[in-house]
């Protein structure tokens, strides 16, 4: 294929770099600097897609982010697939592979198009809601067919080979858009010394200056842009971000920018030779001030068959000619209501192609550009508009007619002009999106026939974004606004740069025209598209208003207007104008819709950044992690920690199952000695003369008399009386305590203590500090624990000297240690704390000495079994935020007579909290010892009752006990403590029903003798 529409010269492409690409299976050539859209147009490709609902052929309509039609699937390989890429925004690269997202077998010959031709009439807006209702059972079948038509592109089915990252940026002034106003704003702010970021969504900076016909300081506008960009690039305080779209404006001037880093170069970073680099980068910018210089989007006119390929917005025609050296057709008809659009005709003619006519809706257009067109011999038809395009896969003609815009009728005879391209312009809509992201509604300006941004704190608007369109005015506006922004950011001396010289052009005013009247009534005319991507027609908008949808939000939702991936950049205002006409109200009266991020779609990957795969969430390791890995531990995720779950051994060449490993570990602790890495427990250092008083207020039990050297278990409630956390606290000195918390509760408990101290009791003299990571904790437990410990420590382990719930300090394996005689297993236990950097030495020394005792490492699963056999709870497993200490049978740990009303005390006497028949913690012994009840199994008293059954409680912890040689469980049960010895039932999902006896929560050693030896 030749590039039949490519001019021999002109444009900003690099003709020395030829790029090959594939579209819909066909190979084409383009140049470096092309977008996919410009390259397709250069190659004369008319049909790039099929429409969503009616499957009509569609071509390229615009040249930027407002493009509704040219949505393609990108990627040569499965993993590199990118759905829904706008061809107008995709830089061409060598080897690019794309296809239209709809159409089968091809976009040219689409089988589904019969639906559009035949069925279109049966698909008014809301047709889904009106049918497919009978019979009810068929809906899922109907829906299967409806879903076949869903979607544009498709998701890749493989994981992304590329990576992404984030940059946290801070600046004084962020300038969004590098057109005339953006450049002068950036220059003003930068010269004042402000830290400036200038971003622009296009491949090249300069915005409208790059396709302008005008001169600045006597040189082409594009040359001035290049020079301005070069100056900014040379300044240390300026960061230039081309290919970077400002997508979201968030509170307090936080702006998200999406920068294409390698995705414009190839399918993947690796394919671009940029291994290790990111595909895209999200800049998270906190800006002192934001200058919104985002320019405007040209609105197309709404006329019949305005979707046939060859219909373009006028400005896009100029962009393709002047920037890419591409003329997208042979014979042009331009339909306009304003002067500015005339440049499309002038550019077209200068490119050597025929301008059939300019059709102007105004009676007497006499601006400079209109004069220029007449002088150039172009036919100008006034008081008229293109009413209808003819043609199927490409425009073949334009039906032109005189119109009365006030009365919305045609007034003359229809003339058909032969042409292959219709450019239209209905005026300009400032790009107000970002200014409305935080909820500020845009304001309608009758003089501009458009919405301008509402006032946003910290944001300054410059240039076309608030309707300052003329080049000279935009340059001056930007310069002033840039200086104003810099001053507001603290650069008080900032002044506007001297504005370059631009010739002033006379323009005649734009007339209000959105939908062109047709000779047929609106509901009977050929389709006049408002939202091309969602196939929303003017008739649909009219029908919605007839059906009682009077709010513009209802109209949008009923018709899907503006819900496409272009978010209605071309169609929204036209749709509102049509709704206003039908409701006989003004546009501002109909209202506007507030835009939401994103301005243009952003890949999930870019928002995720590096927070994926093995960096999705931190993995926290204890100081002994390496040993655990090397000794074959299976790990359990507890919060972010990796904790050994169990340590399967190889027995006779076979790896133990979890059940086998846990049984072995349990027996080792009950009969010999085991060791647990308990380092993940939260540890809080508490110092100060009021530490004791403070503990008394946050714990349910008493702390006044705990002596140095002693340890106590405590319960912590919230002020609603429900258990929040538990743990032991040791008295290190008269005014010094070490609190432990659950692994998951560590951070929360510390903040809880700070909360009460900082907000309620600042008068208490106490400080808290986290020492969780400082200490490594190892629990040596079992009947042989003392024997083992005596080999490695200088501490007197005599049971009279070192009692249960004492702590001592000394050396373990030569390392200073604090050793606590506390037990979570019910066996004799020593909990060793050493500075974490020495933990591995101590651990290994224990194993060196422990070999003869068969010292057995155990994990969290065995820990759970052992503690449950003793009826010891795990906060968060046996409790769920609705359990009081009394429910747990821990009356002994509740100090009702403490002088201060501790946190949770008052709530315990509320009627519901004080009920006798609350759910209470009990033990359950399955009637069949082989049965291990399911954790979460529900308890009923009568298994024969009908559903819904009356549930009395549930199993919170359940294990097999190798010592009891039976399953056993902890459960919460209504009035449980009065049901000892009763039989309860647990109906399971497979229909079976287990029976269990309600028993004490303590299954082993009820007197607690084993831990006290």
């Amino acid at each position: 294929m030749t590039q039949s529409n490519r001019l021999n010269q002109g444009g900003r492409i690099d003709r020395s770099r030829r790029l090959s690409f594939t579209f819909n299976g066909q190979q084409y050539m383009g140049f470096a600097g092309d977008t996919l859209a410009s390259a397709l147009l250069a190659n004369g490709v008319d049909v790039v897609n099929r429409s969503f609902k009616y499957s009509r052929p569609r071509g390229i309509t615009a040249a930027g982010p407002e493009e509704p039609n040219a949505i393609v699937q990108l990627g040569a390989t499965e993993a590199a697939q990118v759905p829904n890429v706008r061809a107008t925004q995709q830089a061409l690269y060598d080897g690019l592979v794309a296809r239209g997202t709809n159409g089968w077998p091809s976009v040219q010959r689409d089988v589904m198009s019969w639906v559009g031709k035949l069925g279109g009439g049966f698909m008014p807006p809301g047709f889904y809601y009106k049918t497919f209702m009978a019979p009810a059972s068929m809906w899922m079948t109907y829906e299967k067919f409806i879903r076949k038509g869903a979607g544009l592109g498709r998701s890749p089915s493989e994981a992304d080979p590329d990576i992404y990252d984030h940059f946290n940026q801070h600046c004084d002034v962020l300038v969004i858009g590098s057109g005339p106003a953006g450049l002068t704003a950036a220059l003003s702010a930068a010269r004042a010394g402000a830290r400036v970021i200038l971003c622009d969504e296009q491949e090249e900076m300069g915005g409208s200056l790059l396709d302008s016909r005008e001169s600045i300081d006597g040189a082409p506008a594009s040359a001035w842009a290049e020079q301005a960009v070069a100056e900014l690039a040379g300044l240390d305080n300026v960061t230039l971000l081309p290919r970077t779209t400002a997508n979201g404006y968030h509170d307090h001037n936080f702006v998200t920018l999406h920068e294409r880093r390698t995705e414009h170069l190839a399918d993947t970073a690796a394919a671009a030779g940029r291994e290790g680099e990111v595909r895209a980068r999200l800049h998270r910018v906190r800006a002192g001030r934001v200058v919104l210089a985002s320019g405007s989007h040209e609105r197309p006119l709404v006329y019949a068959n305005n979707d046939v390929p060859g219909n373009l917005v006028a400005g896009a025609v100029s962009v393709y000619i002047r920037r890419y050296g591409v003329v997208p057709g042979q014979r042009l008809v331009l339909s306009t209501n304003n002067d500015h659009a005339y440049r499309a005709a002038l550019d077209w003619q200068e490119a050597g192609r025929e301008v059939v006519a300019v059709v102007d809706s105004r009676a007497k257009p006499d601006g400079d550009l209109a004069k220029q067109a007449r002088d150039a011999g172009i036919r100008v038809i006034t008081g008229s508009a293109v009413m209808e395009a003819t043609g199927n896969q490409r425009v073949s003609g334009a039906k032109v007619v005189a119109i009365d815009t006030e009365r919305f009728v045609v007034t003359g005879k229809v003339e058909t002009l032969e042409c292959d391209t219709i450019a239209s312009s209905g005026g300009y809509s400032p790009v107000v999106h970002l200014a409305s992201h935080t909820g500020k509604r845009p304001q309608w300006r009758d003089d501009l026939l458009g919405f301008v941004p509402g006032e946003v704190k910290g944001m300054h608007v410059a240039g076309g974004a608030h309707g300052v369109y003329a080049l000279g005015e935009a340059l001056a506006d930007g310069a002033g606004v840039g200086a104003e922004a810099a001053r507001a950011a603290g650069f008080e001396e900032a002044a506007a740069i001297a504005v370059p010289d631009v010739e002033v052009r006379h323009e005649s005013p734009t007339s209000a025209l959105y939908q062109v009247p047709h000779e047929k009534p609106p509901l009977r005319a050929p389709k006049q598209f408002v939202d091309l991507q969602n196939d929303v027609t003017a008739a649909a908008v009219e029908l919605a208003t007839r059906e009682g949808f009077e709010s513009i939000e209802h109209v949008k939702r009923y018709t899907a207007l503006g819900f496409g991936t272009d978010q209605g950049k071309l169609g929204n205002i036209n749709g509102m104008a049509i709704a206003a006409r039908c409701l006989n109200r003004s546009i501002p009266d109909v209202g506007t819709t507030v835009f939401r991020p994103n301005y243009t779609p952003v890949s999930f990957g870019a928002i995720v950044g590096r927070h994926c795969r093995d960096l999705f969430d931190p993995e926290r390791y204890t100081a002994l992690h390496q040993w655990h890995v090397e000794n074959g531990a299976e790990f359990e995720d507890v919060g972010q920690w990796k904790r050994p779950w169990y340590f399967p051994r190889r027995v006779n060449g076979k790896r133990e199952t979890m059940h086998e490993a846990v049984a072995r570990e349990c027996l080792a602790v009950r009969r010999g000695v085991g060791i647990l890495d308990a380092s993940t427990l939260g540890k809080i250092d508490i110092q100060g003369p009021d530490a004791r008083e403070f503990l008394g207020r946050v714990y349910t039990n008493k702390w006044a008399k705990l002596a140095p050297g002693r340890v106590r278990y405590g319960l912590m409630c919230k002020d609603d009386g429900m258990l929040m956390d538990d743990g032991t606290t040791s008295c290190l000195g008269e005014n010094h305590f070490l609190m432990t918390t659950t692994t998951g509760g560590a951070a929360g408990v510390l903040e809880w203590l700070e909360l009460w101290h900082q907000t309620e009791w600042p008068e208490l003299q106490v400080y808290f500090g986290s020492v969780t990571d400082h200490w490594a904790t190892m629990t040596v437990t079992g009947p042989d624990a003392r024997k083992l410990m005596s080999e490695v420590t200088d501490i007197d382990l005599d049971r009279e000297q070192f009692k249960f719930m004492d702590w001592k300090e000394g050396k373990v394996a030569g390392v200073p240690a604090r050793v606590f005689r506390i037990s979570f297993t019910g066996e004799l236990a020593f909990e060793i704390n050493v500075q974490a950097n020495y933990a591995m030495h101590v651990w290994k020394a224990l194993f060196a000495h422990g070999e003869k005792y068969d010292l057995t490492p155990y994990g969290t699963e065995t820990m759970h079994v052992l503690r449950a056999e003793k009826g010891l709870i795990i906060a968060g497993q046996d409790t769920d935020g609705s359990v009081t200490p009394e429910d747990l049978g821990m009356h002994w740990a509740v100090g009702y007579d403490k002088p201060f009303s501790w946190i949770g005390q008052r709530a315990l006497t509320r009627p519901d909290t004080a009920r006798e028949d609350r759910k209470q913690l009990v033990g359950l012994k399955p009637k069949d010892p082989k049965v291990v009840l399911e954790e979460g199994a529900q308890i009923v008293l009568d298994p024969e009752q009908k559903i819904p059954m009356t549930m009395m409680g549930h199993v919170t912890s359940s294990y097999y006990s190798p010592v009891l040689e039976s399953g056993f469980a902890l459960a919460v049960l209504k009035g449980g403590r009065n049901r000892m010895g009763e039989t309860v039932y647990l109906p399971m999902s497979d229909g079976s029903v287990h029976q269990a006896e309600v028993v004490s929560t303590v299954f082993i050693d009820p007197k607690g003798e084993r831990q006290n030896v």
Binding site: G276, E619, A623, Q687, G709, L732, I795, E809, P816
Partner: protein, 226 residues
């Protein structure tokens, strides 16, 4: 109280020398030990090496809590530097090996060479007497990473939400802030380098993050482990 608590109870608080002493023959392991085994530490940054990350393990880390005026006198007497009273201040001694950092209005982080912390704590406690204060040894719970090189600032921009530009983080400033999905203390002790104080259990995550984010610049991670 038993003699096992002999070292304890200066001002009713227990102090404790956690180090076994040089002659005990005990080798400590830095928080990056596992990362080292995994190959995340000591790696050539390649020809384009533009960032160097050096771990300074085993330093003495003490958290001081109390009133600024009280602590200031004691710190000045014992360390020869004055307590940064203004928010986010970081001061170093003449050698640059001891530092005091503002953490919150009643909290400072002191970092001293390995093994000095216990002595320092005892001297401070003695000097502070009956005042209300707290000193907590946290040296086993955190480690210090130094970042230097041409692209160190950009690497930090990828990692922390704080403004690491000269304006936001001049020499002599230190902040607690968000680092990826955890938190760090970020310090600017000198023109040439940044420091991160990271918690032990997150150290591997932080280093893996830095390696991943720094890959495009060429990054080398090493430990100045003695």
């Amino acid at each position: 109280m038993s003699e096992a608590h002999s070292e304890a109870s200066v001002g009713n608080a227990a102090t404790f020398d956690t180090h076994p002493g040089a002659d005990a023959g005990v080798t400590p392991e830095s928080p990056l030990q596992w990362s080292r085994v995994q190959g995340h530490v000591t790696e050539e940054g390649g020809a384009a090496e533009q960032i160097r990350v050096v771990e300074r393990p085993f330093l003495g880390h003490l958290v001081l809590r109390g009133g600024a005026i009280t602590l200031d006198e004691a710190v000045r007497a014992e360390l020869g530097v004055s307590l940064p009273g203004k928010p986010l201040g970081l001061v170093l001694d003449a050698e640059g090996s001891r530092s005091v950092q503002w953490v919150s209005p009643d909290e400072w982080l002191v970092i001293v060479p390995a093994g000095e912390e216990f002595e320092l704590e005892n001297r401070l406690r003695a000097r502070l007497g009956d005042a209300h204060f707290a000193i907590v040894n946290v040296g086993g719970g955190q480690t210090l990473l130094e970042l230097s090189g041409e692209k160190a600032r950009e690497l930090l921009m990828k990692s922390v939400v704080y403004d690491v530009h000269e304006h936001g983080l001049p020499v002599g400033k230190a902040v607690g802030t968000v680092f990826a999905k955890t938190s760090v203390v970020l310090r600017r002790p000198t023109e040439a380098r940044f420091e991160l104080v990271v918690r032990r259990s997150f150290a591997d995550y932080c280093v893996r993050w830095l390696r991943d984010a720094g890959r495009e610049y060429g990054l080398r991670v090493e430990s100045a482990s003695p």
